[in-house]
């Protein structure tokens, strides 16, 4: 039963920073074609730091809880710091063992964030 731990379910049921921003500096949306999950992230940047972040979308517990956790982590951080967040950081944050299919769920929010932070044209792409 360990894949549905309390912390994860809490984030799923009461996600942090859920919603959209009226005039975001960065807004980006990505989906996971395997399961149709979709996450959008809006960022408000002030003095090169993330002042506000919101996410919305639809997906399973893991993709939505991971997005909620990620938004908590990045508030107040610079875009450069955001670009440094790795796949392993993300999986550590989610904190439960995941199979290859569901790793994609856990990483969807990070994909959205990084693609947004780099600007889609400069994004080096997902980590292997």
């Amino acid at each position: 039963m360990n894949i549905y731990q309390e912390e994860l379910l809490d984030h799923y049921e009461n996600p942090s920073n859920y919603g959209t921003l009226p005039n975001p500096d960065i807004s980006h949306v990505e989906d996971n074609p395997l399961c149709g999950d979709q996450i959008r992230m809006d960022l408000l940047i002030e003095d090169d730091k993330i002042k506000e972040v919101r996410f919305c979308g639809h997906g399973c517990t893991i993709s939505l809880a991971a997005a909620s956790m990620l938004t908590e982590k990045i508030e107040g951080k610079s875009l450069d710091e955001v670009k440094q967040i790795t796949k392993d950081d993300m999986l550590e944050m989610v904190g439960i063992p995941l199979g290859p299919v569901r790793i994609k769920c856990a990483l969807l929010a990070l994909k959205v964030l990084k693609a947004g932070a780099y600007g889609i044209n400069c994004w080096p792409g997902e980590e292997e």
Binding site: I3, L9, E13, C35, G36, D37, G59, T61, R102, C105
Partner: protein, 414 residues
């Protein structure tokens, strides 16, 4: 041939042929529409090939090669008998249903489909019976047209007369929907298609393993299915075609085995079925498939069908008790095979699958390679349980308990 005397399945004995069920508590394997377990006699037959007569088929002038050829061709005879093909050479071995359909799309399609011709599909097709026709339409300028389904999940027959015209050259249709379980009335479709001069390709991946399919009765022009969905191995599939069509068609893949004589610039091709079997085929897998055919015919396809119907009825009955559940597909059992798709309000299908997995229940969640159907049903994904001859009422109970657990966990404070 198929014995007419009916005897119910001895499920307990059957389960002994599948070592995966020997664990305690046993795995509730309910993902048979994706791939079934392989029966022990099938694995034994493939082992015997690898251990005692491993060699390439055809042209080998030594004993074990002759034996391998014999076994490979015997498998073809068994498959021909299974679907009542008039001639054994109408059975072409491929890798799977997908390759069989692609063979028709390239070989028959390139030769017979022209700009403006229409190819009729249904909205419930698996991608394997959709994408090859999209590619053919892109190559040739042909137009795809779709038969819709009713809200009940049945083929909308009222449309048929409007969609089928003298422009229709081909109808490609699944025998059984891998999502809804809907059994399509192929005989009526072939009659209507032939009346306008169109050919019919049947994706029988979900039917041949589960009930008796007779290609002469269906009168279809092509029929495709896979070994791995009928207790056989992966890597082996079947294409059946009408003799006059197969004989007229150009080769699909070129290479060894499919030739008669090869000059520097041109070749002449072998007779059927070799013309369509270029290169060394999946020998062990074909032999395995032959034994899988033996296995399911000895179990008796009519008994398998009855058994699955009983499980389906029981599953319908139990799952309906769950609050917030939506079942997709026909509710009339005789129009539906042993596939049950559903969603539970407020729980993502992937979460359902994840929680069921921790409960020892293997089901599938996702779009089931039928994205246009998902759109039609207005869902992103569904949860799907699908049955086979070794499943039990206890498997359904485990599914039900797992679903209750998922619901409790995911809606605890709502």
């Amino acid at each position: 041939m198929h014995t007419s005397e009916f005897r119910p399945l001895d499920v307990e004995r059957i389960r002994k042929d599948f070592p995966i069920f020997a664990t305690e508590p046993p795995l509730a394997f309910l993902d048979n529409a994706a791939s079934t377990q392989t029966a022990r006699p099938v694995v034994d037959a493939m082992d015997a090939y690898y251990d005692t007569y491993r060699s390439n088929i055809h042209r080998g002038i030594y004993r074990i090669s002759e034996q391998a050829t014999e076994e490979y061709e015997r498998a073809r005879e068994k498959v021909a008998r299974l679907i009542n093909a008039p001639r054994t050479r109408q059975i072409i071995f491929t890798r799977n249903t997908t390759e069989s359909i692609n063979l028709v799309a390239y070989s028959w399609g390139n030769q017979n489909i022209q700009e403006g011709d229409e190819i009729v599909l249904t909205v419930m097709e698996h991608h394997s019976n959709l994408v090859p026709w999209q590619l053919l339409a892109q190559r040739t300028g042909a137009v795809l047209r779709f038969l819709e389904i009713t809200d009940e999940g049945l083929l909308d027959f009222t449309q048929l007369q409007d969609v089928l015209t003298e422009k229709t050259k081909l109808v490609a249709i699944g025998h059984v929907s891998n999502v809804l379980g809907t059994i399509n009335p192929i005989q009526s479709v072939t009659a209507a298609a032939h009346a306008v001069g169109a050919k019919v390709v049947v994706d029988a991946a979900q039917s041949v393993p589960h009930f008796h399919v007779d290609v002469q009765q269906l009168d279809c022009d092509f029929l495709a299915f896979s070994g791995h969905k009928m207790c056989g191995p992966t890597g082996i599939g079947v294409l059946y075609g009408k003799l006059e069509l197969l004989e007229e068609m150009p080769p699909f893949l070129g290479g060894g085995s499919m030739i008669r004589a090869v000059e520097r610039d041109v070749s002449s091709y072998a007779d059927l079925p070799a013309k369509f079997e270029a290169g060394t085929p999946s020998i062990a897998e074909a032999i395995g498939l032959g034994h899988a055919v033996d296995y399911i015919t000895q179990a008796n396809l009519a008994a398998i069908q009855v058994h699955e119907q009983e499980l389906l009825k029981y599953a319908h009955h139990r799952l309906k008790e769950i609050e917030g559940i939506t079942l997709y597909g026909p509710s009339v059992p005789h129009q539906k095979a042993g596939v049950i798709s559903f969603n539970i309000e407020g729980i993502h299908p992937h979460d359902v699958a994840g929680i069921l997995d921790t409960h020892g229940v293997a089901i599938r969640a996702g779009h089931h390679c039928a994205q246009p159907l998902m759109k039609r049903l207005d869902v992103i994904a569904t949860v799907r349980a699908s049955f086979y001859l070794y499943n039990t009422v206890e498997d359904v109970d485990r599914l039900y308990e797992g679903l209750c657990r998922a619901q409790k966990l995911m809606t605890r404070r709502k």
